[in-house]
């Protein structure tokens, strides 16, 4: 890496031919690296012959294509579209460029979220129009619901990790508590969804406080380990407490949500009949979409409000410097507990939604990978940033789904190529790229909660990530 950056830096200063030469060299070097990587990973493929024997299939063409692609991409980056290339082309505009960074711009928060909300509101209509029918759009609306669920979970965890700076690896536990609360309350006590929703939220928040107590003194790695264990404990309890949770088999036929009392069926007193519509199972799906949209919006609004209240400022101050907080008379114990409880509350609400959507819950849905994905969304989005979480959730949840649609890749990589098999590989690659390109997440600046004259974003160099 050092070699690369040195040569590019030199390229920026010198004249055009020199720059080209150094860019060529650089690109050549990158190609060599690619070749080195390709030889063990791509060039030879093991296949089974008809007799079941393993044979090696050489894929020289593919290797060459990949190396060429890297060569031209690197060359292009250095000469045409990279930062240094642009700076070298317009040496005068450099100062201005720096200035525009420093001047305040409209915050992502003020434009981004309303735009996203507008898009989300119109989304079911859009996909219906594009796919030429409500039923045909089912896949897309389901995907929207999935993404929004993760947006909500990301926002909830963001309170704990992004604002208060407490690393929580067991967030899925609260999701599970919310889901099982609704599942158990509705199947055994026949309580309606709308009543269960707040109960599930409160139960999850209570567990958030209960988890908070033992981990208050812990920091960093220890906090991460204990929260991780908490997530696992909840899952194991769900598996083993058979009389209540029905163990690994899970709880099935959970009652569906009604439209404020109107069930989604083709009865005379159903939703469709009441509004004079023709019955369609899609009504329920669209309703679920708007339900999770409303829940996610609630999460966002409450978090935004809380950030501007003393408690939110105390969370961020806690992330910045806990000792200074205590010297200012802030009770860090209750501050941490409120962060855990608020985060857990939204996790619980999302969990209830999950249960009512699936109609079935089992411990499998709440494993560690789930926690990891939610945490990855928060970290990828930029800790503390709500817009970042939305982008990251779309990328992380919808992205792998999109891989299913990349059938055209078969033309390049051969008939047996199944893009969705490479999900985790691409996932990992994306993470590595992010770590290099934006170590502090997509939206790494912090928006101040109050200002006298103008709102200026704070660069991530100054914002701390918390100690846990």
């Amino acid at each position: 890496m050092a070699v690369l950056s040195q040569s590019t830096a030199a390229g920026a200063k010198t004249g055009v031919p020199d720059r080209l030469v150094s860019a060529l060299k650089d690109a050549g070097f990158a190609t060599l690296v690619m070749l080195g990587l390709c030889v063990p990973l791509v060039t030879l493929r093991t296949d089974s012959e008809e007799g079941g024997q393993l044979i090696l299939v050489p894929r020289l063409g593919l290797t060459a294509a990949l190396c060429l692609a890297v060569f031209f991409a690197r060359l292009g980056y250095l000469t045409v579209w990279g930062k240094q290339a642009r700076a070298a082309r317009q040496p005068t505009s450099r100062k201005e460029a720096i200035k525009t960074v420093a001047t305040p711009r409209y915050s992502l928060m003020t434009i981004g979220l309303p735009l996203a909300l507008g898009f989300a509101l119109a989304y079911p209509l859009l996909v219906t129009l594009i796919n030429g029918g409500l039923s045909e759009a089912r896949y897309w609306i389901d995907l929207g619901i999935l993404v929004l669920t993760y947006v909500m979970l990301g926002w909830g965890l963001n309170i704990v990790v992004g604002l208060a700076g407490l690393l929580d690896l067991g967030y899925v536990a609260f999701y599970a508590i919310g889901a099982y609360s609704y599942a158990i309350l509705s199947t055994t006590f026949h309580i309606s969804f709308w009543l269960c929703l707040p109960i599930a939220g409160i139960l999850a928040a209570t567990w958030g406080v209960l988890l908070g107590f033992p981990v208050l003194r812990l920091r960093g790695d220890y906090l991460a380990i204990v929260t991780l264990a908490f997530g696992e404990i909840i899952r194991l309890v769900l598996i083993n407490w058979v009389p209540v949770t029905n163990g690994g088999a899970g709880i099935a036929s959970i009652p569906r949500a009604s439209f404020f009392g109107l069930p989604f069926n083709d009865d005379d007193n159903g939703f469709a009949a009441f509004f004079g519509l023709e019955f369609s199972p899609m009504h329920r799906i669209v309703f679920l979409f708007y339900l999770i949209l409303a829940l996610a919006t609630l999460t966002s609004l409450v978090t935004t409000r809380l950030r501007r209240l003393p408690v939110g400022r105390a969370w961020e101050a806690l992330r910045e410097d806990e000792i200074a907080c205590r010297s200012l008379g802030i009770n860090t114990t209750t501050t941490k507990l409120t962060a855990f409880a608020t985060g857990a509350l939204f996790g619980g609400l999302a969990g209830s939604f999950f249960a009512v959507r699936q109609g079935f819950v089992s411990p499998e849905s709440f494993n560690f990978l789930e926690s990891a994905i939610i945490l990855a969304i928060v970290v990828l989005g930029g800790m503390g940033s709500q817009v970042g979480v939305v982008i990251a959730a779309v990328v992380m949840i919808a992205g792998p789904e999109m891989l299913r649609n990349l059938g055209f890749l078969k033309a390049i990589f051969g008939e047996n190529f199944d893009p969705s098999e490479y999900r985790l590989l691409i996932f990992g690659l994306a993470m590595v790229v992010m770590m290099i390109w934006r170590p502090r997440g997509l939206v790494s600046t912090r928006e101040p909660t109050v200002f006298l004259k103008e709102r200026k974003s704070i660069s991530s160099d100054l914002v701390k990530e918390g100690h846990g």
């Binding site: 209240l309 003393p310 408690v311 200074a324 010297s327 008379g329 109050v450 100054l462 914002v463």
Partner: protein, 302 residues
């Protein structure tokens, strides 16, 4: 209340394993005074601060602070025997600081502090730093967040008042123009002043400053003297000050306590302390015969 005893430190001892950082230290600080705590490196000054502000639990000893005049010290034995943290008396109260957790020392006993290594919330703006300091009154006004979420106007008014107080302080430390900049972006001297202003926003009766002049240039150091005197005279906040810069100490303090290896070696007015050979010897770490020469030097500097 001015001239009455505000803080009483009695037989304070702090041990870290085998190391005795503070050894049977007793002194008092008067209301309306700037009391300086000086001593060579490692003398235990910061440790004393940490004991007073609740960050350390002293191994032995008592630290008592009186609100509303020294009459409150009358009930000190009663409070101690009862095992109480605070005991109210007629128009006042006594607080036994060594029994309080750190945040209560600020919240109830109204003792604020700064740190030897500046501890600002560097990723928050200057204004936000001053608002975090007003957490407790604002928290109450926001109905512990419940009313605040609903956006009640009573909270908005209270928050405006908090911003006004912050603005006053920004004016006084000359940082009004930088209110919306992150605290971590300020130059060193400004960060020191901001840390003092932030501590003052908690409206303390006693402000403990750990080496506020460290790293300041002479002009900034003079400004700091003015600020500290102003805090003493205008805000009726007494100061307890750790300082290495002898010019600052001699200039502004009303009373000096000298520590060496955790033991008090002198206690008196700046004049008395300055001329105490024991102090000069310990502070500058020189032999007796050299004291005279050093004395002359100190004389020249002060």
């Amino acid at each position: 209340m001015k001239g009455e005893t505000l803080l009483r430190v009695e037989h304070l001892t702090m041990r870290f394993g085998g190391l005795v950082a503070v050894n049977d230290l007793s002194f008092t600080a008067k209301a309306g005074d700037i009391t300086a705590l000086i001593g060579p490196n490692g003398a235990g000054k910061t440790t004393v601060f940490n004991c007073i502000t609740g960050f350390y639990k002293p191994s032995e000893g008592r630290v008592a602070l009186a609100h509303g005049g020294e009459a409150a010290f009358a009930v000190i034995e009663e409070a101690t025997a009862k095992g109480a943290r605070s005991l109210k008396v007629e128009d006042g109260a006594i607080h036994l600081l060594e029994r309080m957790p750190d945040y209560l020392v600020t919240q109830h006993a109204r003792v604020a502090r700064t740190f030897q290594n500046i501890r600002l919330f560097s990723g928050m703006t200057v204004l936000e730093n001053l608002l975090v300091a007003q957490h407790n009154p604002l928290m109450l006004a926001s109905g512990y967040s419940v009313l605040g979420i609903l956006g009640l106007s009573s909270y908005t008014t209270r928050q405006k008042e908090a911003v006004e107080l912050a603005k006053d302080w920004l004016e006084r430390i000359g940082l009004t123009d930088r209110a919306d900049d992150p605290a971590g972006d300020l130059p060193y001297g400004a960060q020191r002043r901001l840390e003092i202003a932030r501590a003052m926003c908690t409206k303390p009766v006693l402000l403990c400053l750990d080496e506020p002049a460290a790293g300041l240039n002479p002009r900034e150091s003079l400004e700091l003297n003015t600020l500290l005197r102003e805090i003493r005279d205008r805000d009726a906040t007494s100061l307890l000050l750790i300082e290495h810069d002898m010019t600052v100490v001699m200039e502004i303090s009303d009373h000096v306590v000298v520590l060496d290896y955790g033991v008090k070696i002198a206690d008196g007015s700046p004049e008395q302390v300055k001329n105490d050979p024991k102090v000069i010897g310990a502070y500058l770490g020189v032999e007796d015969e050299e004291v005279a020469a050093v004395e002359a030097e100190v004389e020249g500097r002060a």
